[in-house]
């Protein structure tokens, strides 16, 4: 997992390595400094001290400080660069990966969770990368250096380390082990609490509508109190870190003072007062580095969940891949379904589509009718290979869709999705999604054909009108017509409208269909609709029921033969003016 995620470091390997080097230098110097201070102190202590020798030592120390400062400065910046860059690459990799996802993968992850992975999770990864970069090398180095220097300088005094290191290590591990599960469970509860707050914020009308304010307050107070209890427990465990540290520090101090003075006064060692005070510094450094190591451990464990979620996206294998020798030419817009069965996941018991056999000639107009859950959308989504069939095959222009280059196929099979969307940008920009090179005339032409020209011209800015995110500032019917225009700009061989005129009035709807007949006669048009009126004149109407083809034929024919079709028709004629499903 780490290896895959770390691949995203790429061009930021150099700053990462520089950071490492700087940290090594900084750690090294930080360990040498007490040594020099000891010398300095001894110089001061020397009865025949010369101020020049004090100054020399001072200058040495100063030099060290300058190097340490430069290393710290450079390391700090390269570390910032490396971690920000790593995050950038990771985000970019994730984004690119998602662009390559099949519909199946998009469904699997859900857009909300993908957003979290790209934002919060990457930020967490960036933070842990920065931590590791600066501390993961530095702390163990400091630890080893300090022990080494301690023994080198302090001799027997360094025995103090033999006592404090195991105590602290053992203590820290114990605390981390106890605290981690406690924290994890708190965080889970915390997430739940936030979910329930969100529910309340979003559903405030329901809460107030039922006068449930007090009920919600009670529920919330209980949840909060539970978290408070657990959190306090968890934090109390971690709070022990500090006294533990202080115990070790104090032991070190007392030990060094007693044993140190004994050794010095007793004579027979090279130990002196200066060394003694440096031993205190080394002890401190050892303790600090242990402490930080335990902190790295905790933070890594917490961000592990984020890393796992990022990795999940990176590892997702698209089962929709381009064939090895793709076909780049599509003969015509004919469509064949041969023994097609389809289910959304291999675990699903029921097939969403079953036993679909059908031939649609090029240039035909086909209507698709069926209730919610009859798999109308699924049926058409197999044509541009948004999903792959589970069994059987779908042919376009006489060839299996899996033989075509994906881009070529989707260029030629243009689809207006039921859950359609415009993006923030001008109308022209949005329409150019259909064809990046389209001229202004072509855009206007497509808009006219989709019956969008009139209302676009009524906007003060015309085609330069800015569409807000999600198309919030145009009406549902206008949005649908712009989406149709966008799809038309592709000049597709097959055009699929998935319930794309539900919010458009019947007259305009008819005009759009008339335009299709007149201007794009050779394009195969597949129209899913709730309104019978939208499909009535089609060359062929397919009635789907529970994922199977219930009937195929022309309007009059189906009125006679298909119960479902007749039922829908009668209901709409009697209860006329039905605006259909509007979502």
């Amino acid at each position: 997992m780490f290896r895959r995620i770390l691949k995203s470091v790429r061009e930021f390997k150099t700053p990462t390595i520089i950071t490492f080097i700087c940290m090594v230098v900084e750690a090294g110097i930080e360990c040498v400094i007490p040594f020099i201070t000891a010398e300095l102190i001894n110089q001061l202590k020397n009865p025949d001290m010369h101020i020049s020798s004090v100054i020399i030592k001072g200058l040495e120390l100063l030099g060290m400080a300058v190097i340490s400062l430069s290393a710290g400065w450079i390391g700090g910046r390269t570390c910032a660069k490396a971690s920000a860059g790593f995050a950038k690459n990771l985000r970019s990799d994730l984004f690119a990966k998602i662009q390559g996802f099949s519909f199946e993968s998009v469904d699997k992850f859900s857009s909300a969770s993908l957003v979290t992975r790209l934002t919060t999770d990457v930020s967490n990864a960036q933070m842990s990368y920065m931590m590791c970069n600066r501390l993961a090398i530095r702390c163990p180095l400091m630890f080893i250096f300090s022990i080494f220097m301690g023994f080198f300088m302090g001799g027997k005094l360094a025995l103090t380390f033999v006592v404090i290191i195991p105590i602290l290590t053992f203590g820290l591990i114990l605390i981390a082990k106890k605290a981690m599960p406690a924290f994890r469970s708190v965080f889970r509860k915390y997430d739940k609490l936030n979910e329930s707050i969100e529910e309340n914020v979003r559903g405030m009308r329901v809460v107030k509508g039922f006068s449930r304010e007090d009920y919600e307050k009670n529920k919330f107070a209980n949840a909060t109190d539970a978290i408070c209890r657990d959190f306090t427990k968890a934090e109390k465990i971690v709070a022990l870190n500090n006294p533990l540290m202080v115990i070790c520090m104090n032991f070190n101090m007392a030990f060094v003072l007693i044993v140190g003075s004994k050794l010095i006064i007793g004579g027979g060692t090279s130990l002196d007062v200066g060394h003694m005070s440096s031993m205190l510094t080394y002890g401190m450094q050892i303790l600090m580095s242990l402490m930080m190591l335990s902190m790295i451990y905790v933070i890594l464990t917490i961000s592990m969940e984020s890393l796992r979620r990022i990795n999940e996206v990176l590892e997702e294998k698209s089962n929709l891949t381009n064939p090895e020798n793709p076909v780049y030419e599509i003969a015509d817009g004919s469509v064949d379904f041969e023994g097609v069965r389809f289910k959304y996941s291999s675990e699903a018991k029921k097939y969403a589509l079953d036993e679909i056999n059908l031939h649609i000639p090029a240039g035909a107009t086909v209507g698709v009718i069926g209730g919610t859950g009859s798999s109308k959308s699924t049926f058409v989504q197999l044509i541009p290979r948004l999903y792959d069939v589970t069994e059987g095959c779908v042919r376009v222009g006489g060839r299996d869709v899996r033989e075509y280059d994906l881009d070529t196929l989707r260029q030629n099979v243009s689809m207006v999705l039921q859950k359609n969307m415009l993006f923030s940008g001008t109308i022209t920009e949005n329409l150019r999604w259909g064809n990046a090179e389209a001229t202004d005339d072509e855009i206007a032409e497509a808009a006219e054909l989709a019956q969008a020209g009139e209302f676009v011209k009524s906007f003060r800015e015309g085609y330069d009108k800015y569409i807000e995110q999600g198309g919030a500032n145009v009406s549902g019917g206008q949005k649908q017509r712009l989406c149709i225009a966008r799809a038309l700009l592709r000049k597709p061989k097959i055009l699929i409208l998935d319930d794309s005129t539900s919010a458009v009035d019947t007259r305009t709807d008819a005009l759009i269909r008339e335009g299709f007949k007149k201007y794009i006669p050779s394009t195969t048009k597949i129209i899913i609709a709730q309104r019978i009126a939208s499909v009535q004149e089609a060359d062929m109407i397919i009635v789907l029921d529970g994922g199977r083809i219930s009937a195929v034929g022309k309007h009059e024919e189906l009125l006679r033969t298909s119960d479902i079709y007749r039922e829908v028709y009668e209901q709409q004629v009697n209860g006329k003016g039905d605006d259909g499903d509007e979502n």
Binding site: S68, G75, C79, F95, K262, V273, R410, D579
Partner: protein, 655 residues
Amino acid sequence: MKTEKNVQNEMPQEKPKGRPGLDFKILARVFRMLVKSAPVMVPVIVACIIFCSICAVMPAVFQQKVIAIIEEALDNGWTWEYSKSLIIPVVLLLISFYVLNIVSQTAYRLMIATVTQGFLAKTRKEMFEKMQNLPISYFDTHKHGDIMSTYTNDIDTLRELVSQAFPQLLTSGMIVVGVFCIMLYYSIWLALIVVAGVLAMLAVSGKLGGGSAKYFIRAQKSMGKTEGFIQEMMNGQKVVKVFTHEKACVQDFDKINDALYEDNYRAHAYANTLGPIIMNIGNLLYVITATVGGVLLLAKVPNPSIQSLLNGVGLGVLTIDIVIPFLNMTKQFTGNVNQLAQQVNTIAMASAGAKRVFELMDTVPEADDGYVTLVNCEIAADGTITETDKHTGHWAWKHPHQADGTVTYTELKGDVRLTDVDFEYVPGKQVLYDVSVYAEPGQKVAFVGATGAGKTTITNLINRFYDIADGKIRYDGINVNKIKKSDLRRSLGIVLQDTNLFTGSVMDNIRYGKLDATDEECIAAAKLAGADDFITRLPGGYNTELSNNGANLSQGQRQLIAIARCAVADPPVMILDEATSSIDTRTEAIVQRGMDKLMEGRTTFVIAHRLSTVRNSDVIMVLDHGHIIERGNHEKLIAEKGTYYRLYTGAFELE
């Protein structure tokens, strides 16, 4: 270490709004709240911290004593056995200090955990309670994401503040003061050098800290922008694929992503270099102190110090046993100044966070001057109404009259009348003009019109989510302003287009309408709403757990549960705002029978886009830009051949 930690916290917390800075008024308010939440523990903690800080300062004194003894021993050639008797008591005293320190340190750390969490829980509860009492307009005018972030990010900044920054501030502050006192005690000259160094550190950290804050704000803005782009693209992912627009998207994203990287890098670069700079100024200070100390030692310059003043021995000279601990104190001093500098960011973030928390808490809650309440009653044969505690199935409005102290009872029937109602959400932008609607008990009244015509607004006024500007709304003849809001809303059942379900089982969700409903009542309601059929086919039936607003159900199924939730409440008046919009026509036809039965005997307001839903209404109101332009039943409106007729024949498009 601190640097990393702060930086990590800054990312999600920093908001582009407002300059980061220390707002002492807000911090003082936080502190007051903190003290109030734990009036005993907070002073105890403060006392402990002060005590511990003194303990932390003491070793320097003991070290000086021990070194002095050693020097003396070396000079006079004492044996260890002799010196031992001098040194051991000092060390023992030191150890007893240590023991006290550890005890009080452990105690206060544990107390901080308790106090912090108690404080956070209290704040959260208070926020939530205040929020529940806010008017709907607050939720309509504030982004839900922003409200949420107050609960998550802003509360987190408070946690940092209370559990870390405050104690650290006190500890480091005390240590700095303490060390400084001891320094003065030993040597005023050397202390002055340290003061100069600290001033330099403060200047640098102020400058760098400001720079890092500036870039963190920029980084936060870029992050917001990137997030917006990601959100839009993830939601439109399928459209992107259908139009093979993937490459263009990646290119656009890379541009935004690069800008984010740039700001991110700069912000962290500043923050990361602050630590090394301060620490090395510390090293510099150390060298200067040592050198000056050496010069002073050599030159035997008089050493003014509090010690000498106290002892009255006149100005002594500097000795080595003072210089060595002094050097250690220099380190301690700079270390703590560094700690203080690192806290500044946390405190700035917290004061910004606390500001938003207080903004939420200080928002004026929904006013409720209603005094007419809804009570259970018994109705005698002659029509007299008597109040009772029992659940009788009959309800009455209890109307106390202040003028003469009498109480009258009016039977709850569900007669709703709006007379000449004007309304505006924002001053100057009127949305309803002279709207009059009379709904007699049991009638079905429908509103038809384009988005923004004011249909939903009318229902918002009936249940007083908003208050009218002019005109009158009467419920069973009583002005709705006189009715207690919770009782008014209890008598109205609402089903909205955007269904909101809560985490819990299907059964719990239905029971939300009437908390003491039995399982049988809930199931009966579900049957009435036509939801029973699909619920029983769910894997867990009525016990199926819903989460994330019922994400595992279709929109239509969610609407059916919402209708059942309303049905179980059994309200005399119902408002169905696009309640069946996501149920396909065939299913709706099946559900229709149940719906008709549900509406039987209830006053119902129906808003629907789909005209088949409203056809059998007693009255249909066609709204246009806040005016009622047509009213009458289906046949009448068709005969009039007006807007309704054109809508109905499909010659005119809604929305």
